[in-house]
């Protein structure tokens, strides 16, 4: 599903962002990416959704080789992914419903099928009643749910979440996290970058920890080495 092999990433200005990163996330898995700010979590996600190419090494996502992916294929790769950010990235001048529908429209979905699909995901994230609300009329947690609905509406194989609870209070955090767990339970792989260790400890999921651009801990590998059950 997502496979990093000896990935290095250097920025022209910022020096080394990723150092020899290797991991494999399987279909339907839930994995945390943890580490301090600047450890490389967002860079890993950017490589996954082909926002940037790796400097060396190989990144494979859902059958695409991001290392050599052509500009024409990037949109098609992204349609297999759902992406959620800390700052929600909703269009302020569109309602919740329109924000979600937007993601379907840009992929050329059949118009007649759009309203039903939009309502289904809004129901799934618990916001069916607020479909007509604009982002400014919603709380942070609700806005993130809209963003998650938008990420889900194309039925992605993987949901990428970059600090999805970073802007939320504790209650909203728990709600959004539970939503991500539910989504994972229904078969979608989830990769969640977070530095909220409490959240990480609260669930029995795989943890990949980054420090200064290198993987310093991977529960799947380290527990296997220690004789434990791999996740």
């Amino acid at each position: 599903m997502i496979k990093f092999t000896s990935v290095f990433k250097t920025y022209a200005k910022g020096g080394l962002a990723l150092k020899d990163v290797s991991f494999h996330i399987a279909k339907g898995e839930f994995a945390f990416l943890t580490g301090h700010s600047g450890a490389g979590k967002s860079t890993v996600l950017k490589l996954v959704y082909a926002d940037e190419p790796p400097s060396s090494g190989e990144v494979r996502v859902s059958g695409y080789d991001v290392t050599s992916i052509g500009a024409r294929d990037v949109p098609h790769l992204r349609r297999r992914l759902g992406i959620v950010f800390q700052d929600f990235r909703l269009l302020e001048d569109r309602t919740a419903e329109e924000n979600v529908a937007f993601a379907l429209e840009v992929t050329g979905a059949r118009r007649s099928a759009i309203p039903a699909r939009v309502m289904r995901v809004l129901t799934q994230v618990g916001l069916a009643a607020k479909a007509g609300a604009y982002p400014r009329e919603l709380s942070g947690g609700e806005q993130q749910r809209v963003a998650i609905a938008r990420a889900l509406v194309n039925e992605p194989q993987v949901l990428l979440a970059d600090e999805p609870t970073g802007n939320l209070d504790e209650r909203a955090t728990r709600g959004v996290f539970q939503l991500l767990r539910d989504i994972n339970a229904s078969g979608t792989a989830v990769v969640m970058a977070t530095h909220d260790l409490e959240l990480v400890r609260s669930a029995p999921y795989r943890v990949i920890e980054l420090q200064d651009g290198a993987v310093v801990y991977d529960s799947a590998v380290d527990e296997a080495a220690a004789g434990g059950e791999p996740a």
Partner: protein, 285 residues
């Protein structure tokens, strides 16, 4: 396609001020270009009016047989440059002189013999009214044995020539400068529209929109703005023409085809401007 149209129209509704600003800017850029075009059109027409009066007169030797002259007249009319060749007999020349030269009327009346020679007056077709062609025709007229002398306003023709060349040069340079300014201004307004929606573009890309899909509404929007701007510019030019006509000098307006050209030019510039702005933006992010 319907989505492209909807998004393009939505942009007008979502940012009415910026859209109105773009259309106005395009309209005024094209209006300035249009005003200049009006000047060029009228100048050309005035020059053509002057050039039409270019005339070559071949004086016929006294005593020449009228048949000879008539035959030659037919020959001259067959010259590719020649529009008309009129034979003016001595009597008509005298009658005209009496009519037009009032000061000499008495003198002319008292004369016993008509002092004026017969002549052939040659007018040239439009496009041949420049010095080179006038000289060539005059030279050929001199070749007829019965032609005594050939007269035409050589300096006058050469001056018209110079004026025409100058007008064309100024027209091309100033017209090109205005066109470049119009393109830059229009490109800038469209770039503003692109920047205003850069967040939206970034989100579209994240959810898997292709560049073509992102570009299309902008191109349509740019073309629409150019079209509207062009229409407004033609309307403004027409208003200016009416005012100039009433209060300054009699002038003429664009032909339908020229007015259409202004509108098409606006549309094309709008399209090109958005193509460049969006293309550059998409390559950058």
């Amino acid at each position: 396609m319907t989505l492209t149209v909807r998004e393009a129209l939505l942009a007008f509704r979502r940012a009415p001020l910026l859209s109105a600003l773009s259309v106005t800017t395009i309209a005024f850029s094209l209006f300035v270009l249009g005003l200049f075009g009006l000047v060029a059109v009228n100048l050309r027409q005035a020059l053509r009016g002057v050039a039409e009066r270019v005339e070559i007169v071949a004086y016929v030797l006294p005593g020449t047989q009228i048949e000879t002259v008539t035959l030659a007249q037919q020959d001259i009319e067959a010259f590719p440059e020649v529009l008309s060749a009129n034979f003016v007999p001595e009597d008509s020349a005298l009658a005209r002189a009496r009519r037009e030269l009032v000061e000499f009327r008495d003198l002319l009346r008292e004369m016993e013999r008509n002092p004026l020679p017969a002549s052939i007056e040659v007018k040239l077709k439009p496009g041949y009214q420049d010095a080179a062609h006038v000289n060539a025709v005059a030279e050929r007229l001199r070749g007829f044995s019965f032609v005594d002398d050939v007269r035409y306003g050589r300096e006058w023709v050469e001056n018209i020539d110079r004026l025409r060349g100058l007008a064309a040069a100024v027209g091309v340079v100033v017209g090109a400068a205005f066109a470049v300014v119009a393109v830059i201004i229009i490109g800038t307004t469209i770039r503003m529209a692109v920047l205003q929606r850069s967040r939206e573009i970034a989100i579209m890309r994240l959810v898997g929109a292709t560049d073509g899909f992102i570009r299309r509404p902008f191109l349509l929007q740019g073309a629409l703005k150019g079209l509207l701007g062009g229409l407004v510019a033609v309307a403004l030019s027409y208003a200016a023409y009416v005012l100039i006509n009433r209060f300054l000098i009699a002038s003429s307006f664009f032909t339908a085809l020229q007015a259409l050209a202004v509108v098409v030019f606006g549309t094309v510039i709008g399209l090109m401007g958005s193509l460049l702005s969006v293309g550059r933006h998409l390559r950058r992010v």
